[in-house]
């Protein structure tokens, strides 16, 4: 094997037998080291369709693998394993197990959108990264990321009241991500606000904490938003066959 391809051998794909006899020849120990095959035996066409069904992933099928996204990537400059071009390919061909190896870094996209402007085919790789991170969550491969929790807290509040009350957002975010509210930097910030801000403003802030501010006549807009979100989530769940997944899981538990 050429030396530049040795990197393709992964330790977890090596197996050694302490005791092994093949055709009457004792090949125990390191003589019996085998490398698991890397052969791709089939394509899984549904994977691309699933990612494409999530917001941001719509244009993944345009990719022609030029590498402009990876070359322009902020995160790739720090971590060479962060490779949007490669992941897009894995998704398109349906190499799921290979994609899952990187499930813990895919969410690290910082959405700088340099790839969006570099991509000659308008694949919107940043959107694809977002869709992929959501796909991993929805399929249960990763736990909900902190940023996802934040997005949810933020969206819930907007849908409900039409306004954002920051202290509520931060309290809920901390609570859902299991963080303490009384963080030293937080305490320090509040202390300085109490010292520096005019009393009138502090009063308004205090009131807002107690009585959540609402956009007037918001209920109809709220209902419409909620309906749309439900619709989208239903559509995505269908595209990802999530109901089937839940059903299979139930059966597994029952068995």
């Amino acid at each position: 094997m050429p030396i530049h391809e040795k990197s393709l051998i992964r330790p977890e794909n090596l197996t050694t037998h302490d005791e092994l006899v093949l055709d009457g020849v004792d090949v125990s120990g390191h003589w019996s080291t085998f490398i698991e095959t890397r052969v791709v035996k089939d394509y899984n066409e549904s994977m691309e369709e699933e990612i494409a069904a999530l917001p941001g992933g719509e244009h993944i099928h345009r990719c022609w693998q030029c590498g402009s996204c990876t070359n322009s990537c902020t995160v790739n400059a720090i971590n060479p394993d962060f490779n949007p071009r490669y992941w897009i390919y894995l998704i398109r061909m349906g190499y799921e197990s290979e994609l899952l190896r990187d499930k813990d870094i895919i969410w690290q996209c910082v959405s700088c959108n340099k790839c969006t402007y570099a991509c000659p085919r308008d694949v919107f790789p940043e959107g694809v990264m977002k869709a992929t991170a959501h796909w991993l969550e929805k399929k249960g491969h990763t736990t909900k990321s902190p940023s996802m929790h934040f997005d949810e807290v933020f969206t819930e509040q907007i849908v409900k009241t039409g306004k954002i009350e920051e202290s509520r957002t931060i309290r809920r975010f901390f609570s859902r991500t299991g963080q303490a509210l009384m963080q030293p930097w937080m305490v320090e910030m509040v202390k300085r606000m109490l010292k520096g801000l005019p009393v009138s403003l502090l009063t308004r802030m205090g009131l807002a904490t107690l009585f959540a501010p609402r956009t007037s006549d918001w209920s109809r807009a709220s209902a419409a938003l909620e309906e749309y979100i439900d619709e989208q989530e239903e559509k995505q769940a269908q595209a990802l066959s999530l109901a089937e997944l839940v059903e299979t899981a139930k059966q597994d538990v029952a068995a």
Binding site: V39, V40, Y43, H61, Y89, L90, M93
Partner: protein, 347 residues
């Protein structure tokens, strides 16, 4: 100006040359070895043509009818030139049917020969019935029968198109790019997806050469609107597990070996020099270029001058060529013949 112009071959280039000559009142004779005019698009039963999407039988059929209706064009089918002699303005050609034709000039529009996939046995053509060529799929589409696996007539669920079959391959002495197969294949992939929306089409390529405006009209369109998948791999071999065809190769972008099951494998066959070219070269006394096509001796003075004065060449006899460029060359060659005749007269 008394003698006619002899046009060898009644394909797109020959039909265009004959039409041009006739429309300015110059008589010509088309000698076609097959029993009807039209060339490869008609004889091989092509479906929709690039880039207009018109059916070959309408587009090229229209050209055939136009020439057949011309009073100044006489057509001899089922015949070849067996003997040829003379000088510019005064040539004599003896035909295989015993006739002789006097000609002022000759335009060779003798075309090409489809690559025979049997010469790449590792890709399974001739061994497995569901390994077919682009020409066969063209016929499935143009006949109206649709794309079906020849073995049992079922609709394929997954089709692989292998590019560069009989092109860019030193192993079989074919080092040229056949130029049109990338575009033809992406067009065909779209036609398959249109007829069979549940069928996934994969194209295995070394480079995609959908030149010029074909880039968006075929390559991009096939990806963006028809979700055709392109995989950078030159396939090593096509075998079978008894049920499906197995395509083996290396997916170079992920550095992984692949053995993928397919229902149908299509060879995007290239354009060989016409198998008759050595005989044509001998008969007409024109040189062939290194790949075996008819050599174009001069490029900038007049269109399609061969190594022998008074004999011109147009279309895919000169190398892999598109249908519309072959037609343009046919027209241009007619103009070259006319202007040369004028020079002869004034000299």
């Amino acid at each position: 100006m008394s003698k006619p112009v002899l046009v060898i071959g009644g394909g797109p280039a020959g039909l265009a040359a004959a039409h041009s000559l006739a429309s300015v009142g110059k008589e010509c004779v088309i000698v076609e070895k097959e029993d009807k005019l039209g060339g490869a698009p008609i004889l091989s039963g092509y479906a929709k043509l690039v880039p207009t999407g018109e059916w070959a039988k309408d587009a090229i059929g229209g050209m055939v009818k136009r020439v057949e209706d011309e009073a100044g064009v006489s057509v001899v089918t089922g015949a070849t030139v067996t003997d040829f002699d003379g000088t510019p303005g005064d040539f004599t050609a003896k035909l295989s049917n015993g006739d002789a034709v006097e000609a002022e000039a000759v335009i060779l529009c003798s075309g090409f020969t489809h690559f025979d996939s049997v010469n790449k046995p590792e890709w399974g053509f001739g061994t497995y019935p569901d390994v077919v060529t682009t020409t066969q799929v063209e016929q499935m589409i143009s006949s109206g029968d649709g794309v079906r696996c020849p073995s049992d007539g079922r609709k394929p669920k997954r089709v692989a198109i292998l590019l560069c079959v009989g092109s860019r391959d030193r192993q079989i002495g074919r080092e040229w790019c056949s130029k049109i197969c990338c575009t033809v294949s992406s067009n065909m992939a779209m036609e398959i997806r249109e007829e069979l929306p549940d069928c996934h089409v994969y194209i295995y390529y070394m480079d995609i050469r959908t030149f010029g405006l074909y880039e968006t009209k075929y390559y991009w369109k096939s990806q963006e609107e028809f979700k055709v998948k392109y995989i950078k791999a030159r396939i090593a071999e096509v075998t079978s597990d008894g049920e499906k065809l197995i395509v083996k190769g290396e997916d170079t972008l992920v550095k992984r070996p692949i053995t993928i099951p397919f229902d149908m494998v299509v060879h995007a066959i290239g354009m060989d020099p016409n198998v008759e070219n050595p005989a044509i070269s001998e008969t007409f006394g024109v040189d062939l270029e290194e790949h075996g096509y008819i050599d174009v001796a001069h490029r900038y003075g007049a269109m399609g001058e061969t190594s022998r004065p008074g004999i011109y060449v147009a279309g895919s006899a000169t190398g892999p060529e598109t249908i519309d460029d072959s037609i343009a060359q046919g027209h241009a060659c007619a103009m070259a013949v006319l202007s040369n005749a004028k020079n002869l007269k004034s000299a």
